[in-house]
């Protein structure tokens, strides 16, 4: 087209631009005009999600008389919250007072920050510490039942973790019942697709899909799923994203960290990154998206008593005396570099098993078959398909180095072993399979849980985020029983901010 003049180019350019502008709203991050939209439903507050954070936020706004709706893209409510055991770290609870346990905001923050390793925003750590007891009483007063004994969990200086009776299932059910009694509405199979703003940049509603049918067989449901009918919901006061994490979004988590292609996850099917992407597209600031919090099963303190070997070569991989996070990262990158999908095997001998800090849990695993018991290493090798000779050789080397009090290979501190080695039958083994059920990353929020804009660093008017959907709260790793206080305190504070606004 040598004859394309400037005029011609402008003409084509203009046509092309208007064609793009006329393209359906799906291609634009946000629509710009309130007047053009025909709303299918109107609410004061739309809460996206139906887990713990969502319920707490919705209860606060519903109790204040605001017309609140929780929208859940799945046909099953509760997200990961109903699967979670919901151990709940509380500072200054009545149970601590009863047991004479001295706790403080500073101590609580210290423990959380030790896990966070400085990646955590201490303003949020303080928010959790200062409001955890208020959250406990909030939930208890609305039907959630707690045990009368505190748990002293790993990483906490004092016993402060409450036991939720019936786990997350019962807790969410109780809160749900309460929510409905306050005229709260809930819609299943409604997925938030796009955030809608007005010309001034204020969030005024959502473009959703009703009768959405999540397809577990799709590789990337958020992108590939074509079910559902587009509708527009008006949010007169606020939209709150309580959309949890993305531990089950294999594509997204692998982009952030390729080793995460290899993890297992017990998370609910809906834990994908679609909501996070919607917020980012609306201008939210993503924080620490590649950070992950692994779970293992075996108590962290017991790992050092084991010998961990590669599933193919039966050779030791690393210093087993480590925390779950670091060990998991090492395991995963080792699997990636050796191009295997088989998890390493952790081996305890009789003494190592006996040394466990949580014998009750270890025995439970044994009964359930997660830990297997063997009379000889040969049987163990056969069961786990390890090369027998190599395993015996490695065990021998390991034992010898323990006797010599020197680990040439990995510099493990053998003085901590308390007699554990790979010598005394029976032997116990378990796959070292890092499990991922929590993603610390998310969007940046103020202490009022307003979502901050990535350019202006100011709150996006009308947009809030709570719970696991936020980022930078826990940091490098999340302390055990630390998610529940985060979910609850964020829900209460966000709800109150909305009511006051």
């Amino acid at each position: 087209m040598e004859e394309l003049s400037r005029r011609g180019f402008m003409k084509w350019g203009a046509l092309a631009t208007s064609a793009i502008a006329a393209a359906p709203a799906l291609n634009a991050a946000t629509l710009q005009s309130d007047k053009e939209i025909k709303w299918d439903a109107e609410y004061d507050v739309i809460v996206v999600g139906s887990g713990l954070s969502a319920h707490v936020t919705s209860i606060v706004t519903a109790e204040a008389g605001l017309k609140t709706v929780m929208i859940e893209k799945m046909s099953r409510l509760g997200g990961n919250s109903i699967i979670s055991q919901q151990d709940f770290a509380v500072m200054g609870s009545d149970l601590q007072a009863k047991s004479g346990i001295k706790d403080s905001v500073e101590l609580y923050m210290k423990d959380f920050s030790a896990a966070g390793k400085g990646y955590n925003d201490v303003r949020h750590t303080r928010r959790i510490a200062e409001n955890s007891n208020r959250a406990y009483e909030f939930a208890r007063d609305r039907g959630v039942k707690y045990g009368d004994k505190l748990k002293h969990l790993g990483g906490h200086t004092v016993a402060r973790s409450l036991q939720t009776l019936g786990g997350g299932g019962k807790a969410v059910q109780a809160l749900h019942k309460h929510y409905l009694s306050k005229n709260g509405e809930v819609l299943k199979r409604v997925k938030a697709e796009e955030i809608i703003k007005d010309n001034a940049g204020k969030v005024i509603g959502l473009m959703v899909k009703e009768k959405y049918k999540f397809d577990n067989k799709l590789q990337a449901d958020d992108r590939e799923n074509t079910t559902g009918k587009v509708k527009y919901y008006r949010a007169k006061k606020a939209v709150v994203f309580a959309t949890g994490g993305y531990s089950r979004d294999k594509e997204f988590r692998t982009i952030q960290n390729p080793t995460l292609a290899l993890i297992k996850t017990p998370s609910n099917r809906g834990a994908t990154a679609g909501a996070l992407k919607s917020m980012i597209k609306a201008g939210a600031t993503p924080v620490q998206i590649s950070l992950t919090r692994f779970s293992f099963g075996i108590p962290t303190e017991d790992l050092k008593y084991s010998m961990m070997v590669d599933a193919n070569t039966a050779a030791r991989i690393t210093n087993e005396d480590s925390n779950r996070q670091d060990l998991s990262n090492i395991i995963l990158s080792h699997m990636l570099t050796t191009n295997t999908k088989k998890y390493p095997v952790l081996i305890f001998d009789a003494q190592g098993f006996k040394n466990s800090h949580d014998p009750h849990r270890m025995n439970k695993f044994l009964k359930k078959g997660k830990i297997k018991q063997f009379n000889t290493l040969k049987e163990l090798a056969t069961e786990y398909k390890l090369p027998v000779d190599k395993l015996l050789e490695e065990a021998d080397t390991y034992n010898k180095s323990i006797a010599a009090k020197k680990d040439d290979k990995f510099k493990k501190d053998y003085s901590k072993l308390n007699g554990a080695a790979v010598q005394k039958a029976p032997y116990y083994a378990i796959h070292a399979a890092p499990g991922l059920s929590y993603t610390q990353g998310g969007v940046q929020v103020t202490t009022k849980h307003e979502v901050l804009n990535i350019d202006s660093n100011k709150p996006i008017d009308g947009l809030y985020a709570v719970g696991e959907a936020t980022g930078g709260v826990h940091g490098f790793s999340r302390i055990t029983s630390g998610s529940i206080p985060d979910c609850m305190t964020s829900g209460i504070i966000a709800g109150e901010s909305i009511v006051k606004s």
């Binding site: 046909s75 099953r76 409510l77 509760g78 109903i82 786990g167 997350g168 299932g169």
Partner: protein
């Protein structure tokens, strides 16, 4: 007694027995009329009842058929609480899918049960169910 009375009596007896036999309401094993709509096959337990498309999808043309809501399944299957009660023996070990530890009785039928394709056991997503659940038909 005349001698020919005996055979008459026997004949009468035989006749009586034959009448009895014919009257007996023995269940016949019958060949099932399969609703052989191969694009949307239905499960054997619905086939046995010889259900037709309209029994579930209502009157209307087939093109307009939509997936059922839970409430429609429950017009025959009563209620979620009733379904939980029928397998309450599983609650002892907290393994009942109809009154589960995580969801109570709130699950949608479709989490597991599919009418026109293979059913899926949602619990098996995370749990090793072999010892405490049969495959869902």
């Amino acid at each position: 007694m005349k001698t020919y009375n005996i055979p008459i009596l026997l004949l009468l007896l035989m006749g009586g027995v034959i009448l009895l036999v014919l009257n007996v309401n023995e269940p016949k094993t019958y060949v099932m009329d399969v609703n052989s709509n191969s694009k949307y096959p239905i499960k054997s337990y619905h086939q046995e009842l010889q259900l037709e498309c309209k029994n579930c999808h209502g009157e209307g043309s087939e093109e307009d058929y939509e997936e059922l809501e839970d409430e429609q399944c429950l017009t025959c299957h009563k209620s979620k609480e009733y379904l939980a009660q029928r397998i309450s023996f599983m609650e002892k070990d907290k393994t009942s899918p109809h009154n589960s530890y995580h969801d109570g009785t709130t699950l949608s039928c479709y989490e597991c049960h599919h009418s026109h394709e293979k059913s899926v056991n949602m619990c098996a997503d995370c749990h090793n169910v072999e010892t405490w659940m049969k495959p869902i038909k």
